[in-house]
Every structure is written in structure tokens, then in C-alpha cells.
């Protein structure tokens, strides 16, 4: 290990935490901090560095926390994240749309989304008529094996029949319905436990000088188009809808926007964190034409972002894939009100087009941190990122995929040190 000490490693934890917090906050608000902040999404690199399986990383939270603290102290980032979420709720519900190490994958597999057509084209009418009823009685039984019993419930609107509806309560004691409610209870418990662990983890890191990175804690929603695609129609289904039944797709997007935005605002208020994370999937270059983008994707997303901003929330948008042909649209967004993570877009062009509009996050390709890369290449890339994308502030250095699975820790050292070296604003 060649890691040299961070220039400010001798400062007290409290001061360090405050400085790091300020550095990130300044960049997100499009200001120029004292130096370019570094965000490390440790992800499964924690398991790799600790010599444990990914499954154990989830099942042994104490070990995971120890590894996270070790990584924090070694790399000295300004903000850091551990592994994504936990498989507990998915296991409890018999989730059919995700696979985790030890749940659908071998103990060293990596979390994956298993996109399926849980909603059929012929479901649109029922969906549009009453999305909540359709969600509970049709969708959940399809998407979660332990929730199949919910299909037996009477139409949810029958609850409006007050006393008379209690005559229908017999079905609530049917074994499949009981099993479904128990599964929901179990998933709720697992989620609460995970939440408590996250809070405890943040407190321990704060004591070491690493402020809580809260940008994922406010709420998570999707662009209306992606919402219809990812967990409902699947990419294939939604693209066919675009050509075969465009009006129904647009009506569905309008319908889901309303509760997505309402949820994001309510949840941000409830947890006291003014950030909403919006990962984007099918709107990038190559999937659909600009004409289709202008009709089915961008207006709905832009409206969502504007409404969140009006509610005092900073949307953090992950522009997955390549957005090079769509950057001019992003420049329409209000200045200094959003943050954007970029995966495979030309990050230097991103700076040129939207550098005055939003905080830019990303820049370090994960492939450059893989074992075998010449460290000099990592330093060169870091220097160029700091000088060009970091120019004038509004830049958070992180990998293009925001995590570090499969990287060489020694190269992460090189990168982190180079960020502190080249990232200083004078």
C-alpha cells in the first residue's frame, strides 16, 4: 500500500466532518468549494477488500460496518456509501424482480434487477381506471410470490362501504391472505431494522469525521416513462406501447406522475432530507429518437423536476447511459437547483453544456480502476477532470457508476490522493 496521508488527516473529526460536508454542499449548489469533493460508493468492493462474500456483507452488518470504517479511514473521501440496500424485504416478500447474493444468485453474485412484463398491454384500462386497486390486487400478486393472496381481496373501493364492507372480511382470514399480510409485516420489520442500522452507521462514521451522505435518503422516484417500463411493462413492452398504444401510455404517465411527485415531497419532509434521487434508464441516447423523447420522456420528467424544485427539493438525477445528444434539454433546467450524475456521457462536453446549470457528478470510468491499469493513467485522468470539469466548482468526483465493485484498492488510493492534489481551488 502506497497511500500517503491525506493533507488534513490530523484535524479533529468534528472539524473534518464539517469541512467535508461543506465541500459537498458547495459543489451541489454549484459553488466553488475549497477543493473538489470526492464521493466513494464502496459497494461490493467492501466484501472484496474484507475477503468475505457479498452475501456475508449483507448478513453480517457488524463486519460490513467495520469494513466501511476501514475504507473511510484509508481513502479519506468527503462522502461515502456502503453496499446498496439489503435483500431482507425482497426475501420476505418473495420478490420476483430482484436477485441478490444468496437470494436468486450464488453467495458472490451481485444485486441485479430482473425486468419482466408484470403488466400486460391489456391491463392498461384497469390500470388507468384505478391504479391503486390494480396495484394491490393484480400487480403485487404477480410481482411477489408471498403476496399472491392479495388477489382474493374485494375491490379496494369497497372499503368506502364502511360497516357493510365488514361483511366481506371473511376473506381476510383465508390462509393466502394471512400469509400475504404476514409477509408485509416481515418486510416492514426488515426495512425498519435496516433503517436503524443506516442511522447507527452514519453516526459512527460521523464520529470518525465522515459526515452522513444523505442525498439518497430523501426519496427515490423515477421518470414517469421509466416507472411504466422498469417495474411494470418492461422495456420491450413499453416500447411496443409507444408505437401501438401511445395515448394509453401517455395517460398512464400523467397518472403516475401525480403520486410520484406527491410521494417524493411527503417523504423528503418526513425524513427531513431535501433530496430526491431519480435514476434514469430508457431516455438516454440510442434507446429512443429525439422526437419520441420529446413526446414520451422529457416533458414528463422536466415537469417532475420543476415541481420538486418548487417544493424546495434538490433532485439528484442519474443520467445513465449516454446523454450527449440530449444535453441541450438538460440545459433548460433552472440553474443551481439540481445535481446530475453521468455514466457514459462525454463528461467534458457535459461541463461545457450544463456546467452552469447543474452540479456534475462522475468522471472516473470504473474500467480505469480495474487491476492492471497504469497508475499514471489514473492520475492523468484525475488531473484533467479536476482542471476541466472541476473548473469553477460544481463538480463532485466519483466513478461513472458511483460504486467500486471489482476495483483495485491501490488504484483507488492513487485516485483519491490525486483528487486531493489536483482538486485544490486557488
Amino acid at each position: 500500500m502506497t497511500s500517503s496521508k491525506a493533507p488534513d488527516a490530523d484535524k479533529p473529526a468534528e472539524q473534518l466532518a464539517a469541512e467535508r460536508n461543506q465541500r459537498v454542499a458547495d459543489a451541489v449548489q454549484l459553488k466553488q468549494p475549497d477543493r473538489v469533493p470526492l464521493l466513494l460508493g464502496m459497494g461490493y468492493l467492501l466484501a472484496e477488500m474484507g475477503g468475505i462474500t457479498k452475501q456475508e456483507l449483507y448478513e453480517n452488518p457488524d463486519k460490513a460496518q467495520a469494513l466501511l470504517e476501514e475504507a473511510a479511514l484509508r481513502f479519506q473521501p468527503d462522502a461515502l456509501m456502503g453496499a446498496w440496500h439489503t435483500p431482507g424485504p425482497s426475501k420476505a416478500l418473495g420478490d420476483r424482480m430482484t436477485k441478490w447474493p444468496g437470494y436468486g444468485l450464488e453467495s458472490n453474485g451481485s444485486f441485479q434487477f430482473n425486468e419482466r412484463e408484470f403488466m400486460k398491454a391489456e391491463d392498461y384500462d384497469a390500470f388507468l381506471e384505478d391504479p391503486a386497486d390494480w396495484a394491490i390486487r393484480v400487480y403485487l400478486p404477480r410481482a411477489f410470490s408471498k403476496l399472491e393472496g392479495l388477489a382474493m381481496l374485494p375491490p379496494l373501493g369497497m372499503a368506502l362501504f364502511g360497516y357493510y364492507n365488514t361483511l366481506n372480511f371473511g376473506v381476510l382470514s383465508a390462509p393466502p391472505v394471512v400469509e400475504a399480510f404476514e409477509a408485509i409485516g416481515e418486510a416492514a420489520k426488515r426495512t425498519a431494522e435496516w433503517g436503524a442500522r443506516m442511522v447507527a452507521s452514519a453516526q459512527r462514521l460521523a464520529a470518525l469525521g465522515f459526515p452522513p451522505f444523505t442525498m439518497l435518503a430523501g426519496s427515490l422516484i423515477e421518470a414517469p416513462f421509466d416507472f411504466m417500463s422498469d417495474t411494470l411493462r418492461g422495456m420491450r413492452g413499453v416500447f411496443l406501447d409507444m408505437l401501438r398504444i401511445p395515448d394509453k401510455l401517455l395517460a398512464a404517465e400523467a397518472k403516475v406522475s401525480r403520486f410520484l411527485i406527491r410521494h417524493a415531497i411527503t417523504n423528503c419532509k418526513a425524513v427531513g432530507v431535501p433530496y430526491t434521487f431519480i435514476p434514469l434508464h430508457r431516455g438516454s441516447d440510442g434507446f429512443m429518437s429525439l422526437k419520441q423523447f420529446e413526446k414520451f420522456y422529457w416533458p414528463q420528467l422536466k415537469d417532475m423536476i420543476l415541481q420538486l424544485i418548487d417544493a424546495g427539493i434538490t433532485p439528484w438525477v442519474y443520467y445513465e447511459g449516454v446523454w450527449d445528444e440530449r444535453l441541450a434539454y438538460l440545459a433548460e433546467l433552472p440553474k443551481g437547483k439540481t445535481a446530475g450524475s453521468f455514466q457514459d456521457s462525454d463528461i467534458f462536453k457535459v461541463k461545457e453544456v450544463v456546467g452552469d446549470t447543474m452540479c456534475i457528478m462522475g468522471g472516473m470510468p470504473l474500467s480505469l480502476l480495474k487491476p492492471g491499469t497504469d497508475p499514471e493513467k489514473v492520475r492523468e485522468r484525475t488531473q484533467r477532470l479536476c482542471e476541466e470539469v472541476g473548473k469553477g466548482g460544481g463538480f463532485v468526483m466519483t466513478t461513472n457508476v458511483m460504486e467500486l465493485e471489482g476495483c483495485d484498492p491501490d488504484l483507488v488510493d492513487v485516485w483519491a490522493n490525486a483528487t486531493r492534489e489536483y482538486g485544490v481551488y486557488t
Binding site: Q112, F239, L243, R244, G286, S289, L366
Partner: protein
């Protein structure tokens, strides 16, 4: 009238295309001529895709139309009547990765460009690639992977094919794959998109 069918497919008029195909077949047009018209239409769509004039939704709908028309043609085909292929490609998403979008697009483009594609699906172990190449005599293998975790299984698959002494060319692609990764995995080439994969396959098929 086959030109009308070509136009209907390329203009994404699904109902019209199906109606025309059935009319042609019922009117005695040889099924291989109908198939040929479909292929011409798909070539146009492939060119538009390459030029950035049409995108994934159109590819998917074109694929839908193709499979529906193929179904309609089947009863009209005589035994053994089929078209010549340029070569065989064994294709799949490597072990540990279950992403199929990139794989499906490339498989589709290879198919309409005249290759027989043996699609092994997702999460395919190295041994299955080896066994399938042996069983089919394919000369080209395509490995797809979206996740960064796909690099090592790609490398393992390339090694397994070499160890088995199979004379195949291997291309990789998808997600984060670039020249660094090609070098790491020992593959013969990487394709940055579906058309690059088609160009490679054509070059290798000689």
C-alpha cells in the same frame, strides 16, 4: 405487391403488414419471396438504425412483425425449404449477469444480417458456451455483459474456449466494455454497438 409489404414493415404499419403478407401467401406468392421481402424491409430498418434514423422501439416492433409473418409463412413452406446463412454465432450474456437488452439487440441485428444466431440467454456458464460451440460447429462467439462483474466471467469463458481447443473468434460487448476490458478478457474484439458486432461477424465469416 411485395414492395407494398416492404413499405408497410418499414413504415411500422403492423396491421397492414400482416394483412399484406397473408394476402400474398393466399394469392400464391412463393413463401420464400415473402420472406425475401421481409428481409429487405429489415435491411432498411437495420440501415436506419445504424444511421440513427430509427431506434430500439422500431427494432422491437419490426421483430414482432417478423415473427408474426414467419408464423404465417410456416404452413406454406415445403420441407427443407430455408435460406442460406452466412455463419453460426453462439451468443449469450455471461455467467452472473442477467441483462438481456444489449444481447437481444445484437442477436436481432446478426439475425437480419443473415447469421444463424444460437441465443443461450442470460447467466450462461463458460461450459455451456464450449458445449454449444462443439455441438453446432459455430465459428463465432458473442459474449454480452452489462455489469462490471461480467469481466471475469468473460475472461473465464474466453479461456475455456481456448482450453477446449476450439477454433472460434470471440467478441465481447455491452455496458462498460471497452478496449481495456477486451485486453483483460483476452477476447478477439469488442463491439461498441450492434452494427460493430455485425461488421465483425461479417469480417470473421469471410
Amino acid at each position: 405487391m411485395t414492395q407494398k409489404l416492404i413499405d408497410a414493415i418499414t413504415e411500422m404499419n403492423e396491421a397492414e403488414a400482416l394483412k399484406l403478407a397473408n394476402e400474398l401467401l393466399d394469392g400464391g406468392t412463393p413463401p420464400l419471396d415473402v420472406l425475401d421481402a421481409c428481409r429487405k424491409a429489415m435491411e432498411v430498418i437495420g440501415e436506419r438504425f445504424e444511421a440513427g434514423d430509427c431506434f430500439v422501439p422500431e427494432l422491437i416492433l419490426a421483430g414482432e412483425m417478423m415473427s408474426q409473418i414467419s408464423e404465417a409463412i410456416k404452413p406454406h413452406l415445403k420441407q427443407g425449404e430455408a435460406d442460406q446463412k452466412l455463419g453460426k454465432v453462439v451468443f449469450g450474456t455471461v455467467e452472473g449477469d442477467i441483462h438481456d437488452i444489449a444481447k437481444d439487440i445484437v442477436a436481432f441485428m446478426l439475425d437480419i444480417n443473415g447469421f444463424e444466431v444460437i441465443d443461450l440467454g442470460v447467466d450462461v456458464p463458460p461450459k455451456k458456451f464450449v458445449d454449444t460451440v462443439k455441438a453446432t460447429g459455430a465459428t463465432i462467439v458473442g459474449l454480452s455483459g452489462f455489469l462490471t462483474l461480467a469481466y471475469d466471467p468473460m475472461k473465464a469463458t474466453v479461456e475455456a474456449l481456448k482450453e477446449a481447443g476450439l477454433d472460434v473468434k470471440v467478441m465481447i460487448g455491452g455496458g462498460q466494455v471497452d478496449e481495456n476490458i477486451r485486453e483483460y478478457t483476452g477476447a478477439d474484439a469488442y463491439g461498441k454497438d450492434a452494427m460493430a458486432a455485425v461488421a465483425l461477424a461479417k469480417q470473421w465469416a469471410g
